[in-house]
């Protein structure tokens, strides 16, 4: 007997767009008429992939399409994907809030779903009463809750308020109490949506730790949806990447996070590769001065997209004034990762350098060199900005993409991403 505890086969979920109104009845009748004659539901044939940005032809979309995957006992699976990729729909199906349009989901043991914490909390009731009510909603019996009551209250850290109506609680306390109840569920499979985003950092860590214990210590299975790659990384040992309702890829957590970042960038820069054409998300840009292009130059002064580790490099920024010369421009570059972790920022004004940008040609550029900047191997992005004081003329998010290659000469250390983003020179005494 294998230890697969969750098996999802060909699962699809179709939703109807637009309003449920007069058209509904006629569609229902049609559907019923087809089923009476023993035919397939006519509306299952239509329907498009769920790309929320594109205008579609049909009123029906597939929020999930042909999902197949299996989870083994004790695995912690991170489900990632952009907004609308189908993550929450998948969790809804797993927690039986709604049923799949086609396909089968099989599982062993109990599934406890945490799509929200504190479901059914009644503001007028005390913390104690709500623990019992919420526990019962999640499928615990009263004796089970009584047995764990002290632990729950202790985990939530709300002893003092336990006999006060929940409406007097701060929102953080409500969330703590809600999560605490769910954390002590004795379900074999735990399904968790992004519910932790509300608590404070200390409590979030506590929750991630608790879920880690649940999966690693007790051998229970956890499915976890989050946009926070750090918590996915710390909790999950494998990942499932969804896009437009389909499985884009599955594999190790690190690999999936990388694929997810690629996917996000593909989405940003899908149409425009030239820096002058990249869409500027900021709305308050003056744009009298614009970035035209940017190049990374390696130590031989040749343009590149890949650098060796610890190799000095230069960034050459092409700029142009649109109407007339603009003087005393400060330039800035920011290094960041695909998941928006800002690594370092450098402003030309730090070294008292200001530039006058002319409106003549496309060839004027500014160079900035980085000689002692040791980014560890991986992919990075550079965001550019041009401003004068507090006035932003231009800002291009993730304008430049480059990669630092793996250590070339030092064979005694193998690099992995547990090492952090920056290599710091240290002297040991």
């Amino acid at each position: 007997m294998s230890n697969i505890v969750l098996d999802i086969e060909n699962v699809s979920k179709q939703y109807r767009l637009g309003e449920v109104g007069t058209g509904t009845l006629s569609n229902d009748l049609k559907r019923w008429w087809f089923s009476v004659r023993g035919k397939e539901d006519p509306f299952l044939k239509i329907g498009e992939t769920n790309d929320r940005t594109q205008k579609g032809e049909s009123d029906y979309v597939w929020a999930l399409r042909d999902i197949n995957f299996q989870v083994e006992q004790g695995q912690a699976v991170g489900i990632i994907g952009r907004n609308g990729a189908g993550k929450s729909t998948l969790l809804k199906l797993l927690s039986r809030v709604t049923k799949p349009t086609t396909g089968t989901i099989k599982y062993k043991g109990r599934i406890a779903s945490l799509l929200e914490v504190g479901t059914g909390f009644h503001p007028e009731m005390t913390g104690r009463e709500n623990v019992y009510l919420n526990g019962a909603i999640l499928g615990m019996t009263r004796s089970e809750i009584s047995r764990k009551f002290d632990e729950i209250v202790d985990f939530a850290g709300v002893e003092r308020y336990i006999d006060t109506p929940v409406k007097r609680y701060s929102s953080g306390m409500t969330v703590r109490l809600g999560f605490a109840v769910a954390a002590f569920l004795e379900a074999e499979i735990l399904v968790v949506d992004e519910v932790l985003a509300v608590g404070d950092a200390e409590f979030q860590r506590k929750c991630i730790g608790k879920m880690g214990d649940v999966s690693k210590g007790d051998g229970r299975t956890v499915l976890f949806v989050s946009h926070n790659m750090a918590s996915i990384k710390s909790l999950c040992d494998s990942g499932l990447l969804l896009d437009n309702g389909q499985i884009y890829d599955q594999g190790s957590t690190d690999l999936m996070i990388k694929r997810y970042e690629e996917l996000g960038l593909k989405f940003i820069n899908e149409s425009s590769q030239k820096i002058s054409e990249i869409k500027r998300p900021r709305k308050d840009l003056g744009l009298e001065v614009k970035f035209i292009d940017a190049k990374i130059l390696d130590s031989n002064n040749t343009e590149t997209k890949t650098l060796k580790f610890a190799e000095p490099f230069k960034l050459r920024l092409y700029l142009k004034a649109i109407y007339r010369e603009v003087q005393n421009i400060q330039l800035g570059v920011r290094f960041e990762t695909g998941s928006d972790i800002y690594i370092a920022s450098c402003l030309s004004s730090d070294s008292k350098r200001y530039f006058d940008i002319k409106d003549e040609n496309n060839d004027q550029y500014v160079e900035v060199s980085f000689n002692e900047f040791y980014l560890t191997p991986g992919e990075y992005y550079i965001t550019l900005s041009a401003r004068k004081g507090k006035v932003f003329y231009d800002q291009v998010v993730k304008a430049v993409h480059f990669e630092i290659l793996d250590y070339s000469d030092k064979n005694d250390v193998e690099h992995n991403n547990a090492w952090g983003l920056i290599k710091v020179e240290s002297e040991w005494h």
Binding site: N68, Q70, T98, K99, T104, Y107, G109, A136, I137
Partner: protein, 289 residues
């Protein structure tokens, strides 16, 4: 995760299989029983929270039937001069009001189960049948308090002038209640299921209930209805129950076992239909509610 290895795992024991289609009769009462503590907690919630931050508290349970009865006595008894089959007006109207209140609140609340609890149903799974059951039970407690008031009134009349003569049928009161609860539950579940998609039903029910009250022998006994429409009133499954209840406690009314049997049969059909529809809708109503 591995790609599907269908063959090797097909024969395993799964606790639960979620499919896109269920047979019509897949009612899982065992699961409902497993969630009995939830029913208890929901009933407790209703009871604890109904009178938080009120001064009079549970006294409100009495105020409603008392005032309704007084108004009925005045309007229907004195102004309109409707017959009560010879029973004291106060006891007659109170009997009707007490029963009707129970039926009406059960039906109203049950029919709103899916919409009113969409926020909970959208987040957690538990057998949805738990909710209507909790409603019927928590209303039973309210009924109990009002029924006590009614019994007190009956005893008063018995001792003071003997104008009411309860008989052994009072022992069948639990049966009457179960029948009414089943009716409200069945009809409520049908309405509740339809309202998830078609909100028209909610509007229909709102004025439907108030009209239905007049098709039920509450403000006058069935003998007071004109012969032409009597058959219509007799079609109403509540008629048998109300007449039997009044006969049991007041000793008046057209009570027949046949009528009660007819009510039981109709109610059984409605309850079955309601449960089946509810059971079908609960699986996917979140998409349309």
């Amino acid at each position: 995760m591995k790609q599907t290895i269908t063959n090797s795992i097909q024969n395993e024991q799964w606790t639960e299989v979620i499919e896109s289609k269920y047979p019509l009769f897949s009612l899982n009462l065992k699961e409902v029983w497993r969630y009995r503590d939830l029913v208890y907690m929901l009933v407790k919630r209703d009871f604890v929270t109904s009178f938080k931050q009120t001064v009079l508290g549970p006294v409100w349970f009495f105020i409603n039937p008392i005032f309704t009865t007084i108004v009925y006595t005045f309007i229907f008894g004195n102004v309109a001069g409707l017959s009560t089959d010879g029973a004291p007006q106060l006891a007659f109207y109170l009997a009707g009001v007490t029963l009707w209140n129970y039926f009406q609140s059960c039906l109203n609340e049950t029919s709103n189960v899916f919409r009113g609890n969409a926020n909970i149903f959208g987040k957690v799974y538990f057998p949805r049948l738990v909710m209507p059951l909790a409603i019927v039970i928590s209303n039973l407690m309210r009924f109990g308090v009002q029924f006590a008031l009614f019994v007190a009134v009956i005893i008063y009349y018995m001792l003071s002038d003997g104008s009411v003569q309860p008989n052994l049928w009072v022992l069948a009161t639990p049966l009457f209640l179960v029948m009414m609860a089943a009716f409200a539950l069945g009809a409520g579940m049908i309405f509740s299921s339809l309202t998830t998609k078609y909100r028209d039903m909610a509007n229909l029910l709102t004025f439907g209930i108030s009209l239905y009250m007049y098709a039920t022998p509450i403000i006058m006994p069935i003998s007071a209805f004109p012969d032409k429409i009597k058959w219509l009133i007799e079609l109403n499954p509540l008629t048998g129950i109300f007449e039997a209840f009044k006969y049991a406690f007041l000793g008046v009314g057209d009570f027949s076992i046949g009528m009660l049997g007819y009510s039981a049969a109709v109610i059984a059909v409605i309850l079955m239909a309601g449960t089946l529809i509810f059971n079908k809708v609960e699986k996917s109503f979140m998409d349309t509610v």
